[in-house]
Amino acid sequence: MDYSLVEIREENILALRAFLLEGPQAWVPLQDEMQKDDETAAGYNALLFGAFEVAVRRRFAPTYTVGEIVRLVADLRMRLGEDADVIDPLVAEDIIRRAVDAPPFKADVPNDLRAAVIAQVYILLYLVGEADFDRAGLEQFIEEATAYTEQWLAARQSEQR
């Protein structure tokens, strides 16, 4: 992947807003567009990742305990009822720990990218629901997620130079 070709465009931001308001089904019409090339898909996915990072950092700032991370993932899974198995709890806790720079697990965490993406999506939507943004709050969150993602991409681009 050539990060110098990845940028956050207006369509990515519109897609993030739709995702936060409507859930993953909002991205169904984007499937063809996202399969164009890695860099196009990365624009969408990087912004989703940025939104996850910002949401998690907001939730666990300024201090947190690993017990609170355990609790959040359990509450999310309890909310899912019979679909609780969709989330791998260790993978979910691991990606939250990484986002808040918590000490990593000493135990083995499954190296499962698909499980990590699923957990990321569910946690993001759960936290957005919990935050109960008004219109201005949602726009502020999207701006923050966009700024975070642009910084993250700039760091990846400088690594590739």
Binding site: V66, V70, R71, G81
Partner: protein, 148 residues
């Protein structure tokens, strides 16, 4: 095969939260005894504790209640999330509630998880005196069945 009073005393120390005494008594068990009779006794106690906590009036608790309980155990200290695999812990309980099979893990790991969950269940139940002895007697009887 019978469970001895010595093995029961190890379980009693564990159920009453006497950690040092429990460790001391475990070390006094013969290796074969620890792996067979004592493991069966812990399994028996675990079955009794899970049934008492998660079955009410013949109705099994739902999966959410099990997730919640395991999360409470794992959230108790910063080390616990590393020690207890939530899926293994939940599956050990849910299996007894006739919901699915126990997650794949070696026997030592399953036993370790049973011990920690049993300690948490016993701590929550605050067993003492006659209730404690009734609990132990039930666990002993199940353990003897398991060993047959």
């Amino acid at each position: 095969m019978t469970i001895t009073d010595k093995q029961v005393n190890v379980l009693r120390a564990q159920l009453t939260g006497q950690h040092d005494e429990h460790l001391r008594l475990v070390r006094e068990l013969e290796p074969g005894e620890a792996n067979r009779e004592y493991a069966a006794l812990v399994a028996g106690a675990f079955i009794v504790a899970v049934e008492r906590r998660f079955i009410r009036d013949g109705k099994f608790a739902d999966e959410s209640e099990v997730i919640d309980f395991v999360a409470q155990v794992r959230a108790k200290s910063p080390e616990m999330p590393d020690v207890i695999d939530p899926e293994l812990a939940e599956s050990l309980i849910l299996h007894l509630l006739e919901r699915g099979s126990v997650k794949e893990a070696d026997a030592d790991r399953k036993f370790g998880h049973q011990l920690v969950l049993l300690a948490a269940l016993a701590g929550e139940a605050q067993l003492a005196d006659d209730a404690l002895e009734a609990f132990i007697s039930e666990a002993r009887s199940i353990a003897e069945d398991l060993l047959e």
